[in-house]
Symmetry: C2
Amino acid sequence: MTKYSKQILELINQSDGHMTAEQLFLELKKKEPKVVQATVYNNLNTLCQKGMIRKLSLAGSPDRYDKIHRHDHLICKKCGTLSDITFRDITGDLEKQLGEGIISYDLNIYYLCPKCREKSE
Amino acid sequence: MTKYSKQILELINQSDGHMTAEQLFLELKKKEPKVVQATVYNNLNTLCQKGMIRKLSLAGSPDRYDKIHRHDHLICKKCGTLSDITFRDITGDLEKQLGEGIISYDLNIYYLCPKCREKSE
DNA sequence: CTAAATGCAAACTATTTGCAACGAT
DNA sequence: ATCGTTGCAAATAGTTTGCATTTAG
């Protein structure tokens, strides 16, 4: 763990957990003015490989980096706003059907957020 | 529906449902030599908006375009190989917890595929 | 002393956009 | 005649890479 990767990990864990590489870069730059984007990307990749954070790929937006702790995502189909929810852990159910060996899963749920629902009425 | 969008939709529905824009472009080009990538992208976006196909964004690979019919994805954490599975539909469960208004969801399950499991032993 | 991490610039990939020409109503 | 679709080229966004330099164990 280097000084950058430590700080990046902290930023992610303190944040709402949906920060893009660019947002993290800008945040980190406040404390470490010399850091460059590539370094942030490199660190994010290493942290992912080590399983200390997870990467969230969503259609139409850059990758986001998230806390590792199990939770699911609620996404507005219209404006893309992302929020966390925790649906019950279905790993057990999945293993019943698919057999052992499941590492993890991503559950992304699409809906219309209150604001967008209002507008469309 | 134009001649291109019709053919693109057919290609997706006849395929295994995990084709990238580039693969679709190359396929379509066999029948329509004059088509260009941008047109394929434009058509894919329109088809998505109309809800006739769905876009699959996975870390580390270009977007893939999939049939709309409900199913889930099993992804090898190591080599990225993608296969379809159909876990039971949890929309009802989700609505119980989150309330009405869920449009759809994506469930991506990570595991080690047989080949990769072999290698790592 | 060595290996890993960084800064920098350039490369690269996937995707989108502007615009002129085309085609089907 | 009009409006959406296409081809084309260029632009953009996000991310990765190569390499020389710095840093930390």
